[in-house]
Amino acid sequence: MPFSYTGKILHVNLSSGDIAVEEPDDLFYRRYLGGKGFAGYYLLKMLRPGVDPLGPDNVLVFAPGLLCGTPGPGLNRFTVAAKSPLSGAYGEAEAGGWWGPELKFAGCDAIVIKGRAPQPVYLWIEDGRAEVRDARHLWGLTTGEAQAAIRQELGEGPRKVRIAQIGPAGENRVRFACVVSELRYFNGRGGLGAVMGSKNLKAVAVRGRQEPALADPAAVLEIVRWHAKEFKNDPRGAALHAAGTPGLVAGLNAAGLLPTRNFQSGAFADAAALSYDAYQALLSGTNTCHACPVRCKREVSVTGDYAASPLYGGPEYETIAALGSNCGIGDLRAVAAANELCARYTLDSISTGGAIAWAMECFERGLLTRDDVGGLDLRFGNAEAMLQLVTMIAHRQGIGDLLAEGVQRAAARIGRGAEALAMHVKGQELPLHEPRGKFGVGLGYAVSETGADHLKMVHDTVFQTKESASLLSAAPLGIWEPLDAQDASSRKVRLYRLLENGPALWNCLGACFFVYAPRGFFPLERVPELVQAITSWRTSLGELWQGAERAINLARVFNVREGFGRADDTLPPRLFEPLEGGRLQGASLSHDEFEAALTLLYRMKGWDPATAAPTPAKLAELDIEWAAEEM
């Protein structure tokens, strides 16, 4: 009997209504792990190159990580993946919370969905049984309404059925619509909610009663207790516990790293109004995910002109910067209201903020007129206009229909220099981290298979001092000396290369980036011990790191097969121009340094620097030679 996984993968054809169960062998799990690893495997195996991401031939994968749902620290995350309608490339997004664990409790390690239902449906999975149910009465409802309706008709108490779903933005195929579970945990990026919408799939509701078996329950319990006692004595765990990600705002602003007015500046005059102290005034509680004592999640309660209910959680750092500083808005109440709208409609708040910030700059530069934007005064800082645009995007009304296409397509549509203002990589809007002050983060944006993504490596900013808790915890990887965040030399490329398999591994295991070193407290050298206690596998960081690299390479092969190459691993032109204002005033990236770093990184990764494709030797090393035939 397997430990930690159930041995069953559900295949659902929404066109025919057929449901089948695949039972892979143990080696399949050891090779592909789960989560991100499963996503790469199934998208390569089941998708034909060139399919319409919003057509019935796209394949949608829901996959908890290998260890998701066990009691190990922060083991709660699941992947949603498909060909992305935003980028046309490999699309993958993770979320924590409770849905991933519940799917494991229901006896299922992943769901692979193809086809398109003839009419709106939702999927109901309970203790190993799966059923496609009518959702015509749910179509058009916002997420809060749909969650209540589904829970009522399934006859369960309010907290028992876990529901991953889309709201109107997904139904309307907004290219950056997300998937939300429990109204507050987002598989945010890449438009996977639009893929659900295109398949007429409103929701996946799950209920399970069988927790995963553990190989050595006493050893797991010892690790869980140790972590719960120790994490708060570490500055990384302590800060996340005390402030969550909103605690980052003030420090990033002081460091000149807070994206402001569509990345024109790294410092925002009203940052204090978005920071921790302002957040405390709105805070109604903290929250957490399955098996996590860190409790970094926040809930807010706002009444008055701008309203936000704690049912939808509270804005994270990314949302605060995306819809706050990057839109020039210094009003946390407006940001909280926008966060709730994004959750009700299922809009990715990063891309939504990016699209609105781009439109605001176009408006200020005369590329969009008042007539173009429905009479809105779309200058930076107009919170009312920002909130109206969120709703217009979700419903594809007026200018919202253009912005719902993402900044790359929208800029191409209006032309006249608007492309130079479009902050994206591979069509995906930039997260709220400034590569002109964090070179490694910029490399990650560029090479990320999903388009700009801020979690490809642990950020450069935590490796700058010799006593940094993050630096010291990275020693088992061969990272021993501090390095400046803006350094763009071969030493930075080495840092990136040594770190990049970490976040990919967490996405294969279902582990949280915030809990595991070097970003979080849980030490890397105890990870193999934890995996062995849960799975019984005799393993090592080496085996696990290679598993993560396998998953990255599968995603890369997918993109090569879709026609992506080195020219797509790039950054928006603005990042090569000087930052205005703040501590990094005047900082810019150098084209020569960036291209040299990319070439070196490809060589370190075993990829051809001309094509950015994995070499046959690399794929052989990773025991996925079959993938070479896909390119």
Binding site: D234, P235, R236, A238, A239, H241, A242, A243, T245, G247, L248, A250, G251, L252, N253, A254, A255, L257, Y276, E316, Y317, E318, H433, K438, V441, H454, L455, V458, H459, T461, V462, Q464, T465, K466, E467, S468, A469, S470, L472, P482, D484, A485, F513, F514, R519
Partner: protein
């Protein structure tokens, strides 16, 4: 003794005050930057960037009368 000023930027858990205001500290002659952190109770592992008079420095950097120390937390992204 020397008199220095120190400023904590951003969120430092449990180590007041972190409002970005300058504080004055008296330290023994020959003190290094790390001693200023110790005096405020800021763990060295929590510091992501340390500046003395605007220059990137570390906890071993000797301080002189009138120096201005700035520290930033670990800004780990997410």
């Amino acid at each position: 003794m020397i008199a220095i000023t120190i400023r904590l930027h951003g969120f430092f858990d449990r180590h007041p005050p972190a409002g970005g205001e300058w504080l004055s500290l008296q330290l023994p002659t020959g003190a290094r930057a790390g001693e200023a952190l110790d005096r405020l109770g800021v763990p060295r592992g929590a510091v992501g960037l340390l500046l003395v008079n605007g220059q990137r420095s570390d906890t071993d950097t000797p301080l002189a009368d009138g120096d201005a120390v700035e520290i930033f937390p670990l800004l780990g992204g997410g």
